[in-house]
């Protein structure tokens, strides 16, 4: 087998795996967005003065950050299969029957826990004086959150956020364990058909590297945009 032959086969594998790119992106984007919306609520609960919501939010974050994502995926997918009649009586089986739904649910709940901590951290970093000042000019609590606290929290959290997005894109590979043929699923299938795992997984690795390179570039631009009004130390 010639040296060039390996490269030729990697190119062939790249073409084959490209079918999986939209599926990987869909898994990552859907779960990140759902996770984000949920995380705002969880972050608010984490910072709440009331004991019960804070306690529940802390418990949720603790559980989802301390157990492997693979275990969460198996729990949701095979676990729901075991209690099919219960899910049927709740009218939810139509959703849980689908591997796609289970994968996005597990990924979203997982990233929600991480994002909630990031957002809560960002909110804590907003100087208290600003909040007081906003309230002093008569803004409602909701308006203070939307126009003063939250945009600044996002700016604080953004560098760590890019990390979370990269982690999620890589985490979508675990969806291949529940029959979803995204990039890794297709790669596993191709490797066992061709007996050439090296070239196939090298190609899969290249696809993820390219995707995450695009994410990193996007975040650098985003950070620059959000800092456009902040004085630059030069």
């Amino acid at each position: 087998m010639g040296f060039l032959d390996h490269f030729a086969f990697i190119a062939e594998a790249l073409a084959h795996l490209s079918v999986g790119i939209p599926r990987t992106i869909l898994l990552a984007v859907a779960s990140l967005l759902i996770g984000f919306v949920l995380a705002i609520g969880v972050a608010a609960a984490l910072l709440s003065q009331a004991f019960l919501p804070r306690w529940i939010a802390n418990g949720y974050v603790y559980i989802f950050r301390s157990s492997p994502l693979l275990v969460q995926i198996f729990l949701i997918y095979y676990g729901s299969g075991q209690f099919r009649s219960l899910f049927e009586s709740l009218g939810l089986w139509g959703l849980f029957r689908e591997a796609w739904f289970c994968a996005i649910l597990a990924l979203a709940l997982n990233t929600c826990a991480y994002q909630a901590v990031l957002i809560a951290g960002g909110l804590r970093a907003v100087p208290w004086g600003q909040i007081e000042a906003a309230q002093a000019v008569g803004m409602s609590r909701c308006r203070v959150f939307v126009t003063v606290a939250f945009p600044q929290a996002l700016r604080h959290a953004l560098p760590a956020y890019s990390n979370e997005v990269v982690l999620m894109i890589k985490a979508t590979a675990l969806a291949s364990t529940i029959t979803i043929l995204e990039i890794t699923g297709l790669a596993k299938q191709m490797a066992s058909e061709t007996y050439r795992p090296f070239e196939v997984f090298a190609a899969a690795g290249l696809v993820y590297i390219a995707l995450n390179g695009a994410v990193a570039a996007g975040f650098t631009r985003g950070e620059r945009f959000l800092r456009r009004n902040v004085a630059q130390r030069t």
Binding site: Y78, S80, W93, R97, A99, Q189, S192
Partner: protein
């Protein structure tokens, strides 16, 4: 002196033959030890199973002394090539890809493939007009039977093991169906009982113990063998060991001829899957 030299010349080849025989006499056979009922370990950790019994009988008939060793499936072909073992008996089907690397004896068993479903599921009331289909010589009635199955499964979801001949078969013949590939067959069974797939397509030897444990599952359709599903399970040897290959083939032929292969298959699998 002249006589002495003659004796020496005559004796020399015999002597070498003796050495050659001594070398081939201990045949090290590799098995996986994790694929019941073909080969597995009993509660004391001893290798048992259909192929362990078969190895003993084949070696007795071929006048070989054999040792059976446990070897993980991933490395079983490489370690044969590296001279760690002399033969493989590990439920290994003859395939073109494997034949590019090693040689096979004649097959000893052929594992039939069949559809499995839930008691109330698709195909549970399917009536086969044929008990079995051999795919290498499909006739009109067999084509009709496959067509009937294909029609039944159109729009349904079939679960198969990834990168197997089974997957190839359903992709080619069950065109209207959605195919879901699993890396582990246990997961396919879980999804079948959960109703995520409509039917599964896998070997009856794998299904037998599962059907016993899970009364909700039933097999249906004809037993399928041959053709693209593989030529059967055989002993694998290095390409250079043609002598050993012939000895195994002859012994297998003997066991197939006198019915002892059938008896051994019935003992371990509950059905006669001998490669007649």
């Amino acid at each position: 002196m002249k006589n002495g030299l003659k004796t020496l010349l005559l004796a020399a080849p015999l002597c070498f033959m003796g050495i050659a025989q001594a070398q081939t006499q201990t045949v090290r056979i590799a098995t996986e030890g994790a694929y019941a009922p073909y080969n597995f370990k009993d509660s004391s950790g001893k290798l048992v199973g259909f192929e362990i019994d078969l190895a003993a009988e084949l070696c007795k008939r071929a006048a070989l002394s054999c040792e059976v060793h446990e070897q993980a499936w991933d490395g079983i072909v490489p370690s044969l090539l590296a001279n760690k073992y002399d033969a493989i008996m590990a439920a290994m089907n003859i395939t073109e890809k494997r034949e590019a690397v090693i040689s096979f004896s004649r097959p000893y068993v052929k594992t039939p493939i069949r559809f499995v479903t839930t008691r109330k599921g698709t195909g549970a009331d399917f009536v086969s007009s044929l008990p079995a289909i051999t795919l290498e010589d499909i006739d009109a009635t067999e084509t009709a039977e496959i067509g009937k199955l294909s029609k039944l499964l159109a729009g349904k979801t079939i679960g198969v093991q990834a990168a197997t001949a089974h997957e190839g078969f359903v992709k080619e013949h069950m065109k209207g169906a959605t195919i879901k590939s699993y890396d582990k067959m246990d997961n396919m069974i879980l999804d079948l009982t959960a109703g995520r797939i409509d039917v599964g397509y896998t070997s009856v030897t794998f299904l037998a113990p599962i059907l016993k444990k899970t009364p909700d599952l039933v097999e249906f359709g004809p037993l399928m063998t041959g053709g693209q599903l593989g030529r059967g399970v055989a002993v694998g040897v290095r390409k250079t060991d043609t002598d050993l290959q012939k000895k195994f083939s002859a012994a297998i032929g003997g066991m197939l001829g006198d019915g002892s292969m059938s008896a051994l298959a019935v003992k371990w699998f509950g059905i006669d899957i001998s490669a007649k």
